[in-house]
Amino acid sequence: MFDYYLRLALRRCRQNVPMVLLVVLTMAVGIAACMTAMTIFRALSGAPLPGVSPYLYVATMDGREAVDKDNPDYQRPDSLLMLADAKALVDAHRAAQQVAVAQSLASLGNADGKRSEQAYGLMAYGPALQVFGVPLRYGRPWTEAEQSANAPVVVIDTHVAQKLFGIDNAVGRSVTLGQRSFRVIGVFAPWSPRMQIFNLGQRAGNVMGQDENFFVPAQASLDAGVGPFTSGECGKGAPVVSFQSASVAQCRWIEAWVRLDTPAQVGDYGRFLAGYAHVQHDAGRFVYPPQARLYGTQAWMTLNRVVPDDVHLNLMLAGGFLLLCLVNVAGLLAARFLRRQGDVAIRRALGASRRDVFLQHLVETGLLGLIGGVLALPLTWLGLWIVRMQPVSYADAARFSPGVFAILFALSVAVGLLVGVLPAWRMCRQPPALQIKLA
């Protein structure tokens, strides 16, 4: 029966080509607009580190050590800590896993200094690779012993390994970082969070996650003269520091991330954190009430507005546009079907049930929807291309993916059926006798 309906539908499509074209194109444009916005939205929603970030929390507190008359309010939770505080939190081992990290930008060179590569990486205190779930391809992460001895070791990604040594497995080689030579103890596949999660307070406007090319123990890196990308906030009397300075002893520049698996753990750790901050405040180090608080990754990103409002607005607009296209097409289809009351009357008189008539029309609109979806494919591609050309921070998110294709396919059939339901229902409602008379 289905293929008979399909043949009927195809025959009907050939009868009034301009009309069919109008219906199909309207659907295609609506679907394409929606898919373009949805692709970007999908790329910018969900967990920044799938499987890991839902359990990650960042510690925030007002850790200022001097009265700041320019900004007496603690208007926004601040995740930047002094290295001493971050070390204390990590060394307390109160969470399942904990690490302090700061973004760094450094030049990595090979031993003879002939090749070098400017690379982003994370300076860390604690087991950063394990906490963030960075998959190692060769070698191993650094040990606590190496960290406490300030051993010059580094873990790099295959991209840097290829650039410097021409091979993936660079374990055992030496890399120059700042003024010292570091031993490569591990190599990982290129890795980046899907969205920006580190140092959000100072890197407003970045949406897409940064490719991290290396991980290095924080103290060893500072010893070699390589500091964080931004020096954060420095107390009064601190030496004037600039970007990438390593004299950050009096600055708050590093963030503490902890992994907590259950709500009970989150509650416990929150109390521990508040207690720690209060002790510092009572001892006179933190001059303001510390207001220490834990933020889950998602809440932290929302608070810092990592994903611009515009992205949500675009999705709503595109949704509205698709809705309008649907109403439009439903109207056209209703008119189109009602002109064929005669055919239907004859089919009904010959014994077709209402259900048959209903199904026949649904098959027709489903087919139209599918054709619309096929046309929407190049249109979506075009839309994404236009977005990529725009000077917006999320332009990189506008990439076609197999998942998008599946959604587009499902959406187009759903759209076809949805617009068909009302007209098809209307068609099967009229009694056969009246329809014959009309015909």
């Binding site: 309207t26 809705l323 309008l324 917006v392």
Partner: protein, 410 residues
């Protein structure tokens, strides 16, 4: 024009008529809100800075010679820049310019008591203190930027300091009113926690490097402090058409005067470019909003035309009968136009309701004000016009149906 026949024929096409009404309503609701958002963004990006924007160009230079005296370097550089043909004046500033994103701001109180109050409240809100953006620069900054001095005077040469804090300042009219509401601000002494700073002049307007919220965007202060770092921003004023040439000449002249400096090619800009960069996201969004509004209207027009075409085909016989019993072509055209007007009007009424609902939803999630009613009026007018335009073609085709059709069976 009789409405009854129109209404009764619409009653026979309830489903299609309702869908058309719904379509007009959705378009009205969305387009009203989109146009409102466009208007908001346009207003945001057209905020005046108070400067002679299209006459300014900017070049950044960072001296890298060890042991060089930055201020001596700036003086030499400025002399070189002023010698370039077409440059009317040139100044050096540390880094702040309106809408240039690098901001230096400072807490400033109308009096010492206000500062104590702020300390007590542990907040600047409600204490009378403000947090203006602070601009510095070499002499003749006011003239070079083209600011309008509305009271007081420009700085005198002996008021400029090379290091430390100056004792006088020029504030914007907005900052003067915020600090000393209802009082004469000129001559007052502001307190910044360590020193008193006397207001010697008031300029009409000078925007902040970063916009915060409408009330305080214009709170700025200029003080006579010469830039004292190796990295500096030179601002040159010239005729608008000379700017590109002046920038080229300036970079060549600066490098000739001293090659040991870094000049980022990205920071050789006309002020127009700086402004465009600041509002780039808004501009992109405006483009997208306009495109979607036009798309919505276009799809609606297509829908109206498509359906009207169908109805004309369907009613060919009855049109023929009406023509045969005396209706003129004009009557037929007016019939379809009136029908369309009725449908769109119903859509507009429903759409106004929807527009307010949509606006309420948007207000919850985004920084958006309540939709002013005249946007609805404009939306209604646009939709009526669009409907009439879209139905005109089919209506004329209907009018062309000859009366003789009545005698044939269709």
């Amino acid at each position: 024009m009789q409405l009854r026949p129109i209404l009764s024929s619409l009653r026979r096409h309830k489903l299609t008529a309702c869908l058309l009404v719904l379509q007009a309503a959705l378009t009205c609701a969305i387009v009203c809100n989109v146009v409102f958002m466009i208007a908001n963004r346009v207003q945001r990006i057209s905020v005046p800075t108070g400067m002679a924007e299209n006459e300014l160009s900017v070049i950044q230079s960072t001296g890298i010679e060890k042991g060089e005296n930055p201020q001596a370097r700036h003086t030499t550089d400025l002399a070189v820049l002023r010698a370039i043909p077409g440059v009317q004046s040139a100044v050096a500033v540390s880094y702040s310019l309106p809408l240039d994103q690098s901001e230096s701001s400072s807490g400033l109180c109308p009096s010492k008591q206000a500062l104590d109050r702020a300390m007590q409240l542990n907040s600047i809100e409600g204490s009378g203190c403000m947090e203006p953006a602070v601009y510095d620069g070499t002499p003749s900054l006011i003239n070079t930027l083209g600011l309008r001095l509305v009271a007081g005077r420009d700085f005198q040469p002996d008021e400029y300091v090379s290091a430390g804090k100056p004792a006088v300042a020029i504030v914007t009219r907005a900052l003067a009113q915020h600090l000393y509401p209802g009082k004469q601000a000129l001559g007052q002494s502001m307190y910044d926690g360590d020193n008193y700073i006397r207001i010697v002049g008031i300029v009409d307007k000078l925007l902040r490097p970063n916009l915060r919220k409408p009330g305080v965007d214009d709170d700025s202060m200029i003080w006579p402090q010469r830039p004292d770092r190796a990295g500096v921003l030179y601002v040159m004023r010239s005729a608008p058409q000379d700017r590109e040439r002046v920038l080229q000449a300036a970079s060549a002249a600066l490098l000739k005067a001293s090659p040991s400096r870094l000049m980022d090619p990205k920071r050789m800009q006309t002020y127009t470019e700086i402004r465009a960069e600041y509002f780039q996201r808004d501009t992109t969004m405006i483009g997208l909003l306009i495109a979607s509004a036009l798309g919505l209207l276009f799809v609606t027009a297509l829908g109206i035309t498509g359906l009207a075409n169908f109805w004309v085909q369907q009613r060919t016989r009855s049109i023929g009968i009406r023509r045969a019993i005396g209706a003129t072509r004009g009557d037929i055209v007016r019939y379809f136009q009136t029908e369309n007007f009725l449908i769109v009007s119903a859509g507009v009424l429903l759409g106004m309701l929807l527009a307010f609902v949509l606006n309420a939803v948007l207000m919850q999630h985004y920084e958006l004000q309540r939709l002013p009613w005249f946007y609805l009026l404009v939306g209604a007018l646009v939709l009526w016009g669009l409907g009439q335009l879209a139905v005109l073609g089919p209506a004329l085709r209907a009018a062309a149906v000859p009366p003789v059709v009545a005698t044939r069976s269709v």
